[in-house]
């Protein structure tokens, strides 16, 4: 009788631990979903390109926990990537690999481990192409995460998917301009966005601009 009672208590304790772990998992998932929801709402809450860029920077800094990163837009007319936001360092100017990665269909995630990379020399370990359908419109490059953030996790990849404009189409073809023509430009080359083309998001901004003859008017 006593043994059965003890066994029952142990089972209850085991169930209690299992349920507690499950609650913690659900709390974490709830936080991830809230992050995605807030990011999505904020991205689509403005028609102002400069505000969209600010929102992307906030998401990268405060949600993903990126420390050193840059946001580029493709300037089709000039055939180059133009930095519209740089955080904590100058990006790798003229980095040839960045152009190829920006035109890729999928993000590339290399190890972001210590020691932190020098953004003026090293290719970014994380490059997230921003695409509108099959068209490359820009890229996010990340060199370093905050020191208390050891690695990207699942919700970070989902946030990058959100920023990238969703999953790329299955049969995406190479887009113009060619990777060889793309090179990174410093943010100082960026011009203020024209207020006459205010889209609902950065990607819609690109769509509007390309429909009107290229992205150069936006960046």
């Amino acid at each position: 009788m006593a043994r059965r009672g003890k066994q029952g208590v142990e089972e209850l304790l085991h169930d209690n631990r299992r349920l507690r772990d499950r609650v913690l998992e659900l709390e974490a998932e709830n936080h991830h979903l809230a992050s995605l929801y807030v990011a999505s709402v904020q991205l689509h809450a403005t028609l102002e390109p400069a505000q969209v860029v600010r929102t992307i920077v906030e998401i990268l800094e405060n949600f993903v926990g990126a420390r050193t990163f840059a946001l580029y837009l493709v300037d089709e007319r000039a055939g180059r990537l133009r930095a519209v936001a740089v955080h904590n360092a100058e990006p790798a100017l003229g980095e040839p690999g960045l152009g190829e990665q920006a035109l890729a269909e999928r993000p590339s995630y290399a190890d972001l481990g210590a020691p932190p990379l020098d953004p003026t020399r090293a290719a970014p370990p994380v490059v997230v192409p921003l695409r509108l359908g099959r068209r490359a419109v820009g890229a996010i490059a990340v060199w370093e995460l905050l020191s208390h953030k050891p690695a990207l996790d699942d919700v970070d990849h989902r946030l990058f998917d959100l920023l990238a404009g969703g999953k790329p189409p299955r049969r995406a073809k190479p887009v113009e301009p060619s990777p060889a023509r793309l090179r990174a430009e410093p943010p100082s080359a960026a011009q203020p966005a024209r207020r006459s083309e205010f889209p609902r998001s950065l990607l819609e901004a690109a769509r509007l601009a390309t429909g009107g003859g290229g992205l150069a008017g936006l960046v």
Partner: protein
């Protein structure tokens, strides 16, 4: 838990929304938002009766450190628990905020369970 009132002071709408979503997980907690320290002081003015403040440090108009200082030197508000939300590398800000009388700090990127646990502890709410 009886209704409690929290003030979230953060200039970034994105970050503010995420904090508000986290706090909504606490039953009975009503959340009011402010976009900077001055906005927060306006909302803290009587007859408002807040139970806790969560504030960013770096904000335009009036930053979080000045807000902590003003609250701690106001006899009506001096006892309010204050949580500062800091960025990495903000150790000096964090140290100053705690020296000025902040009760706790949270580092960005925030995690909802940590925000909830911190607020519950300061409000004396059982987890």
């Amino acid at each position: 838990m009886p209704a409690r009132l929290a003030l979230v002071v953060e200039d970034s709408p994105t970050m503010r929304q995420l904090i508000v979503y986290a706090l909504r997980r606490i039953p009975g907690l009503v959340v009011v938002e402010a976009s900077d320290g001055l906005d927060a002081l306006r909302k803290l003015a009587p007859p408002s009766r807040f139970d806790i403040i969560l504030t960013d440090i770096n904000m335009p108009v009036m930053d979080g450190l000045k807000l902590v200082h003003r609250v701690r030197n106001d006899p009506e508000l001096a006892g309010l628990p204050i949580v500062v939300i800091t960025t990495e590398g903000g150790e000096e800000d964090r140290r100053r905020a705690l020296a000025l009388g902040a009760n706790a700090y949270i580092t960005k990127p925030i995690q909802a369970p940590q925000v909830i646990a911190t607020v519950k502890e300061l409000l004396g709410v059982a987890s």
